[in-house]
């Protein structure tokens, strides 16, 4: 940016510029079907998922290759999580959960490449993912259990006098779920990337002492690698928990 080079009055860092959605092939406005950097990095996430899970497992060998081993690890990880949290009857929804996990973990990891774009740092993306889960789980809960799905809000183990109060609290917390679900992911990814950019700006301004922020960036980057995986894990396991509530609404 031109303003960075002209920043004589001190630091002039733009940590949020990396999140700007821009058209790839034109300078026009971002329409619904415009191919943008978000499109590109989502597509790369899709391709990487396909490469890992399809190309990696094409050997079908009993003794797996390295790629197949990783693919099986990812499969086993999500499969076990689904089974442990939701039970056997939740395994029907395993492909959906695996889709969410693979998309998020791939998008998060690819976003750590320099010059890349983080689709999961955008609330538009994570809100759709969370609403997808919220609406799906709510519909599924009513389809599977009918009106008794509302028993989820009626804490039968609490004293009778407290139950209406608890029901209100439960209801509120139920509707807050998609909000926290989506903001947690977007916030974590956005904050991590913004912090990296801020430290990079320090490195540019400090001259000979640039190694201090560079070391800090290295440490934060390691943390971000962890966060990239953990946030995908958290999103997935919360999806499993919500799904369990839909399948077995009674506490």
């Amino acid at each position: 940016m031109a303003t960075e080079t002209e920043g004589g009055s001190g630091l002039n860092i733009h940590p949020m510029d990396q999140f700007v959605v821009q058209p790839l092939f034109s300078d026009g406005p971002v329409g619904m079907f415009t191919v943008t950097n978000a499109t590109l990095w989502m597509a790369i996430a899709v391709v990487c998922t396909a490469l890992l899970l399809v190309l990696g497992s094409r050997g079908r060998s009993v003794v797996p290759s390295r790629a197949q081993s990783v693919a099986e690890l990812a499969y086993g990880f999500v499969h076990k999580m689904t089974e442990d949290v939701t039970g056997k009857d939740g395994l029907k929804y395993f492909p959906y959960i695996m889709t969410l996990f693979m998309f998020i973990v791939m998008a998060n990891s690819l976003a750590l490449l320099p010059m890349s774009f983080a689709p999961t740092s955008h609330i538009a993306v994570t809100a759709v993912l969370a609403l997808f889960v919220f609406i799906g789980v709510t519909v599924l809960g009513f389809v599977k259990n009918g009106a008794s799905f509302l028993g989820l809000f009626w804490v039968s183990s609490a004293p009778l006098a407290l139950r209406p109060v608890l029901a209100v609290i439960e209801l509120i917390s139920y509707f807050v779920r998609p909000v926290s679900h989506s903001i947690r992911l977007a916030g974590n990814i956005m904050a991590g990337h913004a912090v990296l950019k801020v430290f990079a700006g320090f490195a540019g301004a400090l001259g000979i002492f640039a190694f201090v922020p560079v070391l800090a960036i290295t440490a934060i980057y390691a943390l971000e690698v962890l966060v990239a995986f953990i946030q995908a894990y958290v999103f997935t396991i919360l999806t499993c928990v919500y799904l369990k509530d839909a399948l077995h609404p009674h506490h």
Partner: protein, 183 residues
């Protein structure tokens, strides 16, 4: 501050350009992101549910089956090995017993043979002894006869040398008598 380059570089979609600060809150880009997100999710779901997940599931099931089979086979082989060891021990014990029996038998046979040979040898020795005795007796008898003859001839010669004409019968009679007395 150079404001002209700034406006030239920033695009209308840029957060800094419209002053909102956070590109995440630029609602103009929402339809775009949501559309491409749905496309991406559909693509991943399609690839996973049609190709990747069934394949990995089958590979894992196959591996589980292979492991179960191998463990069963190993169990069976272990069983067989134990059985073979048992059979070997039994064969060893049998062989030992057989060897003992053969040794006993051989010893008994040898004893029998030995006894037989000894008896035979003793019988032979006894027979030879008897024969020898017979021959000694014969020799002794012959010797006695010779002595008698010699004595008779000598007696006759002595008598003749003394100038007597003696009858053969009397001489014989006298010699016989003397021999009988000396015997």
């Amino acid at each position: 501050m150079a404001t002209e380059p700034t406006t030239a570089v920033l695009t209308p979609g840029d957060a800094s350009a419209d002053g909102s600060g956070m590109p995440q809150l630029n609602f103009d880009t929402f339809p775009n992101q949501i559309f491409w997100l749905l496309v991406a999710l559909a693509a991943i779901y399609f690839v996973l549910s049609r190709i990747a997940l069934p394949r990995i599931a089958s590979v894992l099931a196959e591996r589980q089956g292979t492991i179960t089979n191998d463990i069963a086979a190993a169990e069976e082989l272990k069983h067989k090995a134990a059985e073979a060891e048992k059979a070997y021990e039994k064969a060893l014990a049998d062989a030992r017993a057989e060897a003992n029996r053969i040794a006993e038998e051989t010893k008994a046979e040898m004893q029998e043979e030995l006894d037989k040979k000894q008896a035979k040898a003793e019988a032979e020795i006894a027979a030879q002894q008897a024969e020898s005795e017979k021959r000694i007796d014969e020799i002794r008898a012959n010797a006695t006869a010779s002595v008698e003859e010699v004595a008779k001839a000598t007696a006759q010669s002595v008598v003749a040398a003394m100038g007597f004409e003696a009858e053969q019968d009397r001489i014989d009679q006298a010699v016989d008598q003397r021999l009988k007395e000396s015997a």
